[in-house]
Symmetry: C2
Subunit: 153 residues, 2 copies
């Protein structure tokens, strides 16, 4: 059964994203930080202060692994922990300036990389690219909304 006539080939799109990510993700891992560690820093940078348990939902780690990972991040001065004023059991995790700086520098590194690639595009391709950030952002919003709905089980 052929899908609708508008030529949106999802298989090709997903393949393109997968292959692009191979080049997009693999930065020279600056400070010997693991993938899990960087993911935690990224999440805290995007969502602001969070509790440990909230992180277990977004990161693919169990709570004991997160406890020790966060302990290490605190020792290294990338994250600070303080008691949640609303709940004596909980801990609020916040990026330190140094932790935020790592996330920013990785972002900057990616911008530099992508800039080097975009130089080689022609004007049409570059113009096309200009519109995609908005659509991707929309997709991310939709994904977040669907994820939230799932939590209501």
């Amino acid at each position: 059964m052929a899908p609708s006539p508008e030529a949106l080939d999802l298989g090709a799109l997903v393949t393109a994203i997968e292959d692009f990510n191979t080049h997009f993700i693999r930065l020279p891992s600056v400070r010997r930080l693991s993938f899990s560690t960087l993911s935690v820093l990224h999440t805290l940078a995007r969502r602001g202060p969070m509790r440990l348990t909230d992180l277990t939902a977004t990161e693919q780690l169990k709570q004991p692994a997160l406890t020790s990972l966060v302990a290490k991040l605190e020792r290294d001065g990338l994250v600070s922990r303080r008691p949640d004023p609303r709940d004596g059991r909980a801990v609020l995790l916040t990026l330190t300036e140094e932790g935020a700086q790592i996330v920013r520098s990785r972002h900057a590194e990616r911008v530099t990389r992508v800039a080097r690639l975009v130089e080689h595009l022609d004007d049409d391709e570059r113009a096309a690219l200009a519109g995609y950030a908005a659509v991707l952002t929309r997709l991310t919003e939709i994904a977040a909304r669907l994820d939230d709905q799932k939590l209501d089980d």
Copy 2:
């Protein structure tokens, strides 16, 4: 839609890709396979049979880690090893059908996910997305070309 130079905000684009990937990458890890393991399977699926040393260039693992990872993959029946007929020291790694199946099923899972998101887009947004795959593929080609040039150091 005037093609002005300011139209392409790389910072916003990179942020959008970073955030989208948060939802795109994190699949329910099917078979208790690590990120490194999945990356090796993906690389072998894309590039065909490779030597261990060639993999150390694309994966972010040292050679001893790859040796043991590949040994495990062979035990699990996802990769087969045979001597390189052109070089008695080397080993050629090939995906087995079962290994290829894992890569395909993860791809299919992503397609399903993205399809659920795309349902919520309007026609304009969907049309914009349709061109995205081609430009991303171009960027990936350019990145691969630049990487190859760097190897000539």
